[in-house]
């Protein structure tokens, strides 16, 4: 079914970099190609510092690209509605939860915005918090309100930059499951950057692994999630766990290329061979 869906973002031959203070050029992303269809959920994995967030920020036009093109709605020229969620909550502290949720342009034009805000809060299991200020919420609740605000603006694409990085394990599982339910229901195209492989597998249709320096997509993994049972069960599925393990190994190898870990892994190999 996914194959028939309309292409939403077309990223072709994108190069991203920035000038260092000494004048030299730091090439971060090289010749990257990626397409995302409407309603699809894609994760980008890679070791830290490889340029995952840089790529996301370029898609949002926060950072300019050097060459290549990032095209939204190819064929039709239409401005996309983008919503972005960061690792740390970016709720405006001077607005109440409700005012934060109805902040975006789209929802502001909606006459029953309050009802929508209430429904989203209920979907994310934080009802009756409308009149509270962000300082009165816990970290997990704040992060869910952040996502609710992003979704309330009915985005064409939801961009998540390590959204649950700060949450403890239990809160993370809960928030992930609410998020998955909502993006499925509303068919929101989602682009997720994370260092947590389990999260990526749980939430996405495709996983792209960034590697190399400058970075490009080194591996594309289609995540078949229908066979793994319900959303709650799939984390414990054998295949899910094997895939998780193999991706984690790939990342670890990539990581070891650039760090001290290289020696450690080699030693380990040597011991094994003996």
């Amino acid at each position: 079914m996914i194959m028939n869906k309309q292409t939403f973002i077309n990223i072709s031959n994108v190069n991203i970099g920035y000038a260092r203070s000494d004048g030299s050029f730091n090439h971060v992303i090289k010749d990257l190609n990626l397409t995302l269809k409407i309603g699809e959920s894609v994760s980008i994995l890679g070791i830290s510092g490889i340029g995952k967030s840089t790529l996301l920020h370029s898609i949002c036009h926060f950072i300019p690209i050097e060459s290549g093109s990032i095209e939204f709605f190819p064929g039709i020229s239409k401005e996309p509605r983008i919503s972005i969620v960061f690792q740390e909550s970016t709720l405006f502290p001077w607005l109440t939860v409700e005012e934060n949720i109805i902040y975006g342009d789209w929802i502001r034009q909606n006459p029953d915005k309050i009802d929508m805000a209430n429904k989203l809060l209920a979907d994310f299991r934080i009802p009756n918090t409308n009149k509270l200020y962000p300082k009165q919420l816990s970290g997990g609740m704040k992060q869910r309100v952040d996502i609710a605000r992003a979704i309330a603006n009915k985005p064409d694409i939801l961009i998540l930059d390590e959204p649950f990085g700060h949450l403890d394990y239990q809160n993370r599982l809960q928030s992930e499951s609410y998020l998955l339910k909502v993006i499925r229901e509303q068919e929101i195209a989602t682009l997720l950057v994370t260092h947590n492989v389990e999260e990526a597998l749980y939430l996405s249709d495709y996983i792209y692994i960034l590697g190399g320096k400058p970075a490009t997509i080194t591996k594309e993994i289609f995540v078949t999630n229908t066979k793994w049972g319900s959303d709650d069960e799939k984390r414990f599925n054998e295949e899910f766990m094997q895939l998780k393990k193999s991706i984690e190994d790939t990342l670890l190898k990539e990581f070891s290329k650039y760090t001290e870990l290289k020696n450690y892994l080699n030693d380990k190999e040597d011991i094994k061979n003996k």
Binding site: C60, F62, S83, I84, E88, T90, W94, T96, D105, Y133
Partner: protein, 257 residues
């Protein structure tokens, strides 16, 4: 919200215990020195306060109100200009390199050192007093606003740019509101500075106000009156701080403590 850690009751009263202890020490030292013309005893200070409030009726009220209004006016003008200039130098490269440089130089000149020249230029009167206070307040507020806006978390700006496209006014609001906590601390500091400068200004170039009253008391050799003047001045400053904090939490309930 429920506080998880509350101050134990017996500790919160400590403030009321420390004041009598200080008073007892003061009295002991005064008795030991035995020269009330230099180090007044509590009874002398009490008598001076009584004299201020009940014998020379009205005079001290007038002094307090005069000093308070000067501090308030200077604080108001200085912080208003400081906020406007802080926004300008933070958001415009032109202002940053022109006025910003100038302010950084002038900021290094202690306002206390300006007293003589201000009195020379503007004479003894309200203008000179308020000018001096505004000067001190201005630079403190300017620095904190400039810093606050420069340090705004860009993710707030990004979120605004994606959720509220082309809404320039909203973007300004986000710059101001998300740096508010930083420049609030500048405002709080400048209340203290305003009261220092009220005193310094009145000491040198005024014929009214608490600073002037203290200076007269010194000249006529009445340390009891000097000390009671200082108590009133300190109380006025503490009251202003308290009032400002209450006002801020009332207007901006979202501020994190």
């Amino acid at each position: 919200m429920k506080k998880l850690v509350s101050t134990p009751r017996n500790i919160s009263y400590l403030g009321w215990v420390i004041v009598p202890i200080v008073l007892v020490f003061w009295e002991l030292i005064a008795i030991n020195i035995g020269k009330p013309k230099i180090f007044p005893r509590l009874a002398n200070i009490g008598a001076a306060l009584y004299f201020f409030f009940f014998v020379k009726e009205g005079l001290v009220y007038k002094d307090i109100i005069t000093s308070f209004i000067r501090a308030l006016a200077g604080f108001y003008i200085g912080s208003l200009l400081g906020i406007i200039m802080g926004i300008s130098t933070a958001k415009s490269v032109f202002f940053k390199y022109s006025l910003g440089r100038l302010f950084n130089f002038l900021r290094a000149v202690t306002p206390v050192a300006l007293v003589s020249i201000v009195v020379l230029w503007f004479g003894i009167g309200e203008f000179a007093q308020i000018f001096l206070i505004s000067w001190g307040v201005f630079f403190t507020v300017w620095v904190s606003v400039d810093l606050g806006i420069n340090k705004v978390d860009e993710r707030f700006i990004w979120v605004t740019k994606t959720l509220r496209k082309d809404d320039k006014l909203e973007l300004w609001k986000v710059y101001l509101m998300s740096s508010f906590k930083v420049w609030l601390s500048g405002l709080k500091t400048s209340i203290g500075i305003a009261f220092i400068l009220v005193f310094v200004g009145e000491l040198a170039g005024a014929t009214t106000g608490l600073g002037h009253r203290i200076s007269i008391a010194y000249e006529i050799g009445r340390p009891d009156q000097v000390v009671s003047g200082l108590i009133l001045l300190g109380g006025l400053g503490a009251f202003s701080n308290y009032g400002f904090n209450k006002l801020i939490t009332w207007i901006f309930p979202w501020i994190e403590k």
